[in-house]
Symmetry: C2
Subunit: 338 residues, 2 copies
C-alpha cells in the first residue's frame, strides 16, 4: 500500500466517534478540531458519527460560561477578544472562541475565517480559536455552532466566546445559545449610525464602549453614562439582571478586569439561583423548534423541482392570473400529494 493511502486511511479512521471522544475529553485540541469538522460535515456517514460523538459529549458538557459577543464591523471585536481572552488565560482559564458569520454564507469565508486576527490566542495551548462554521443557511450554521459548544465543553474549555457581526439576524441566534450577551459599541456614534437594531441593545447584558483610550476617553465615559441611563428604560430581564454599560481599551489593556468582574458577578449569581440551568433548558426547547422549522422549509425551498414550480407560480401571480394566496395553496397541495 502506498504511503499516502495509508496516511489518508489513518486519518479517516480517526474521524470516528469513539476515537475522537477518547482524545477530546483529555483536552486534545487537534481532536476537538477534527470533531468540529465532523459535526460540520454534510456527508451522511459523517452525520451518523457526529451524532454519536455529540451524544457521548453531552454528559460532559454544560460546565462553561457561554458568552456571546457582538458589535458592528469596526468596533474592534477581534482586538477585544484577543485582549480579553488573554486576560482569562492569565487567570488560568481555558478559552474557546467560536464565530457565527452571516457574511460567510454568500462569500464562503470572510475576515472571521482569518486566524491571524487573534495571533496570541491562536497559538496559546489553553485557547482554541475556530472560524465560522460552514453551512447553507444561517440557522444551519448556528445549529452546528451549538453542537460545537458541547464539544468544547467536553474538551474542558470553561469560557466559550461566541462572536458574531452586529448586522442582523445572527445576534438573535447567538443570544439564544449563550448565558450572557455582551455588546461592543463605539462612542461618538448614535446607535442609528452603528446600524444597530434596538432589539439587539435590549438583548445585551453588558454594553462595553470600546477604544476608550487617548482622545476618546472622555467621550467614551459620557457614552457609558448615557447608556447606563437608557438601559433603565428597557423592560426588566427575566433573569433580574440589570444591564450595565462600561468602557474599556483593548489597545491599552485597560478596564478588561472590570468587564470580567461584571461577567463573573452575573455568572455566580445566575448559576447559584438556577437561572443559567433554566435558561439553557428554554434555549434547547426553542432550538428544537427552530431547527425543525428550518428542516421543514428547506425540504421544499431547496428542492430543485419545487424551485422551478415556485418560479412558474410567481409568473402566474405576476400576470394576475391568481393571487399569492391561491398560488401558495395550489403549490402546497401538489407538494403534499407528491
Amino acid at each position: 500500500m502506498e504511503e499516502w493511502f495509508k496516511k489518508r486511511h489513518a486519518r479517516r479512521k480517526e474521524l470516528t466517534a469513539d476515537n475522537l471522544f477518547t482524545k477530546l475529553v483529555t483536552g486534545d485540541k487537534q481532536a476537538l478540531s477534527s470533531a468540529i469538522t465532523l459535526v460540520e460535515s454534510a456527508a451522511i456517514v459523517h452525520k451518523k458519527e457526529a451524532r454519536k460523538l455529540v451524544k457521548k459529549c453531552l454528559p460532559h458538557s454544560g460546565n462553561s460560561f457561554r458568552i456571546g459577543i457582538t458589535g458592528v464591523p469596526g468596533v474592534g471585536k477581534s482586538t477585544f477578544i484577543e485582549a480579553f481572552g488573554s486576560l482569562l488565560l492569565q487567570m488560568g482559564k481555558r478559552v474557546a472562541v467560536l464565530a457565527i458569520d452571516p457574511s460567510s454564507l454568500s462569500s464562503g469565508g470572510s475576515i472571521l475565517g482569518d486566524k491571524t486576527r487573534m495571533p496570541r490566542l491562536s497559538v496559546h495551548p489553553n485557547a482554541f480559536v475556530r472560524p465560522s462554521a460552514a453551512g447553507s443557511t444561517l440557522g444551519g450554521v448556528a445549529a452546528t455552532t451549538r453542537e460545537c459548544i458541547y464539544l468544547c465543553e467536553a474538551a474542558g474549555f470553561d469560557v466559550i466566546l461566541i462572536e458574531t457581526v452586529g448586522v442582523g439576524q445572527s445576534e438573535t441566534l447567538v443570544h439564544s445559545m449563550v448565558d450572557f450577551f455582551l455588546l461592543l459599541m463605539l462612542s461618538g456614534a448614535g446607535d442609528e449610525l452603528q446600524g444597530m437594531k434596538r432589539g439587539i441593545m435590549e438583548m445585551a447584558d453588558l454594553l462595553v464602549i470600546t477604544k476608550a483610550d487617548g482622545y476618546n476617553i472622555a467621550q467614551a465615559e459620557v457614552a457609558a453614562k448615557t447608556y447606563n441611563n437608557a438601559l433603565h428604560l428597557f423592560p426588566q430581564k427575566e433573569s433580574n439582571w440589570v444591564a450595565k454599560a462600561t468602557t474599556c481599551s483593548a489597545l491599552e489593556d485597560k478596564n478588561l478586569e472590570t468587564v470580567w468582574e461584571i461577567l463573573e458577578r452575573f455568572y455566580r449569581h445566575a448559576r447559584s439561583n438556577g437561572w443559567i440551568g433554566h435558561q439553557r433548558k428554554e434555549q434547547d426547547k426553542q432550538w428544537l423548534m427552530e431547527v425543525l422549522k428550518d428542516l421543514l422549509l428547506k425540504d421544499f425551498f431547496q428542492d430543485t423541482h419545487w424551485k422551478v414550480k415556485l418560479q412558474e407560480m410567481e409568473e402566474l401571480v405576476r400576470k394576475g392570473e391568481m393571487t399569492s394566496l391561491q398560488g401558495a395553496e395550489l403549490l402546497f397541495n401538489s407538494f403534499k400529494s407528491s
Copy 2:
C-alpha cells in the same frame, strides 16, 4: 316550506361566486360584506367559491391607493381614521377600512371589532368598515386581508385604509400589502416609551404626531421637527420617497388636509413613475413565499399527532438524552417517512 328555512336557503344561495360578483362590482356593500365572510370562511365548500370569486375580482382590482396605518394603543388611531376618512368622503372618495389585529388571535375579538368606534364612517354610504379578520395565525389573517383588498377594489373603493396595532409583527405584514405606510405617534414620549421598534419607524413613509391640540401643540411641533431631522439619517427608500413628519389634530380637524396632500403627492409621483406597480409585484412575490412557508409549517405544527411527538422530543432533550439538533432531525425524518 317554513319561512325561516326559505330565508336561510336564499342566503346560502347568495354565497356563490357568480351571485356575489355581479352585485359586488356595482359597489353593493352588503355583497362586499358577504364576499369577505366567504373569503374568511374555513369551510372547504366556501374556499372553492372564495377562490373563484377573488379570481373574478382580480381584473377589476388594483385601482385603489392602499394605505397602512399603525401606532401604539392610545395614539388615537380610531379617531384619526374617523376624521381622516370623513375628509376623504367629503372629497368624493369611497373609503374602505380593514384591520389586522394580532390581539384578536388569542381573545377572539377586541376593540378593533367594535364598529361603534368609527360611528360616522360606519353609516356613510361611501364608506365600508370591516373589523379584524378571523384566523388562527397572524399570517393567515393577513393573507385573508390581502384578498379582501382585491374585493374592496373590485367594489370600487378608491382608498383602502389598513390599520393595525403598533405592537410587533403585524406592521411588517401590513407594510407588505400597502403602497404607503403611515405611522401615528404621540409627542412627549420617546419612541422607547411608545414600545415602537426602530424597524417600524424605518418602514414609515409619513409620521403623523397626533393630538396636536390645546397644550400639546408646541410639543407636537417640536416632536415633528425632531423626527424630520432623524428621518434623514435612515437609509434612502427604494421608492426614492423621503419620509416626512407632520402633526395633526383629529379632534379639531386640523391639518388633515395637509396629511392628504402629502399622501397624494406620493401617489401621483409613485403611480406615474411605475413604482406602485413595481412594488405590488414584489409584494405579491414575497406573499407567495410567506403563505407557502406558513402552510408548510402549519402542516407539522398544527397536527395533533406531531404536536405530541414534539412534546415527547422536548422531554428527551430536556433530560439531556440528545441535543436539539438531533431531536429535530429525528422528528423531521419520521415526519417525512410517514
